[in-house]
Amino acid sequence: MSEIAAETRAPALRVSGVTHAFGAKKALDDVSLTAPSGAFTALLGLNGAGKTTLFSLITRLYENRSGAIAVLGHDVRQQPSRALSRLGVVFQSRTLDLELSVLQNLLYHAALHGIGRSEARRRSLAVLERVGLAARAKEKVRALSGGQMRRVEIARALLHGPGLLLLDEPTVGLDIGSRRAILDEVRRLIDDDGIGVLWATHLVDEIEAADRVVVLHKGRVLLEGRIDDLRARGGSEDVGTAFMAAVAETERPNTAAERKTDTAA
């Protein structure tokens, strides 16, 4: 099918030239980035960098008024339902129904994607198996730990077989063991299924050498490349230091990034 071929050629996510303002405040300023299929792309930024706004636009909570966003080649404005059906999301805030069981939460989500009951049940158990929570399917979500809830949310995001998985600071508030487990799980998904992952975070230690990094700061993309590019940019072997240096660089006048804003304004 040419449809599939087209999807395979297109990157999991392509954002090009997106600017978004709330009133006078520009939350995103000419943002372009790519998250290829089969790769882990870390969206690195401090709080308020615009990560959540970008996620809201990709998930079409509201529309981008400039630029374009495409999920596996499907533009979110032109073909919203196609784009959304290829997208799995784990939001920053908890989005599970605490009163309902794990399985009920998954079945509800499957219904939202138009997946019928028996198929939904099969898929739910399959994804729960994957995240190692099949035994807890009948339990109320309230009984799970924070890390387990996150894993259920990841399972839920995979239920409809997305080609792009978005995660908005998924490890915030979790202990180090759960963080590790979730990262490993997501990396396994990339290896096994070849899906593209965009992982928003402000924690540099979640990024590995082979990952792609996009640094977002005050609504602008400072850097898109490998972790070594970030080290080079920040002039430090330590990624955290390099990141802070790269961010601080934009605060100084007459840097490349600053000149860019001047011309934009």
Binding site: Y62, L112, H113, R121, G161
Partner: protein
């Protein structure tokens, strides 16, 4: 497929329907709406406190308030009643509408609450059109309000508050659906406009009490006209009055056409407002505040 004969399906060996972008189908629409109604009902069943208070509130009015005022407030013969009716009988339709009012606003509050905890986000990333998701949410709310209304009618039956004929329980159904849709749509529209409803008390003060008391729920309009003409005007324009009258007449197998028009019209207007407000391109979410406002 039962729980037992599941085969562990690795997503790596994806079934064909995993890969291509599936277009949303008609059957899918039904599955989606069914799922939303199912979840709303489950939540309702799990929140026993909500069901109980939804039932107890109107019963307190019926058993205590109405009994106390029975002597004070005589109701003369007005349509659809053909004989003198007890005050309890008079206020029953108003109490049913009150149940639906509470339910409509409570589900609107749950939208706001959902938006905060993010469940709303999950609803909105569904590939189905936004208007359809909102209508499904509305249908789910109406289904729950019907359960509540009939539970109240059943208790009222044993308190001798009954329509002329048992057919009334059937003829009231379309009226209940319409009034439920109107009040639910009103709640939806409100939920999109208010970023945050701090607590239910402010909704009670600013919406429920004025709507309920400035209506024909507790006293016939002609009585209000005698007392205060301005208030009478307000009451006769109040959409809630028309929801009450629609239910009152339907319980007696009759149609109050003006009320039917007002309830349908106001309901449709609220629904359109809500759809507009939640629309990603036209809507308010993208314009007002940052992501925090819409989280």
């Amino acid at each position: 497929m039962s729980l037992v004969d599941r085969a562990p399906v690795a997503l790596s060996e994806r079934s064909p329907d995993f890969l291509p972008a599936r277009d949303v189908s008609f059957g899918g629409y039904l599955v989606c709406m069914g799922g939303i109604v199912w979840r709303e009902s489950l939540r309702f069943v799990h929140q026993r406190g909500r069901f109980l208070s939804a039932l107890v509130r109107p019963l307190v009015w019926l058993f205590i308030f109405a009994a106390g005022f029975r002597a004070t407030l005589g109701v003369s013969i007005i349509p659809p009643y053909e004989t003198y009716v007890l005050y309890e009988v008079y206020i029953a339709p108003g109490l049913i509408a009150m149940i639906q009012l509470f339910n409509g606003l409570q589900s609107s509050l749950s939208m706001v609450y959902d938006r905060e905890v993010g469940a709303m986000r999950i609803l909105l990333v569904s590939p189905y059109p936004r208007w359809f998701l909102l209508v499904s949410k509305l249908v789910a709310g109406v289904a729950v309000s019907l359960l509540q209304a009939y539970a109240f009618l059943a208790v009222a039956y044993f308190w001798d508050v009954q329509p002329d004929s048992l057919w009334g329980y059937l003829t009231v159904l379309p009226a209940l659906i319409l009034s439920g849709l109107m009040l639910g749509a009103m709640g939806l529209a409100m939920s999109s406009i208010f970023k945050q409803l701090e607590n239910f008390a402010s909704v009670m003060n600013f919406v429920i009490f004025p709507m309920f008391f400035a209506s024909s729920a507790l006293y016939p309009l002609w009585r209000i006209q005698q007392a205060n003409v301005l208030l009478w005007h307000i009451c006769s324009y109040n959409p809630f009055t028309h929801a009450v009258e629609l239910i009152r007449f339907a319980l007696y197998g009759q149609v109050e056409w003006t009320s039917l028009a007002v309830v349908s019209g106001f309901g449709a207007a609220c629904l359109l407002a809500a759809i507009y407000a939640y629309d990603p391109s036209a809507g308010l979410t993208g314009r007002r505040g940052g992501p925090d406002a819409a989280k």
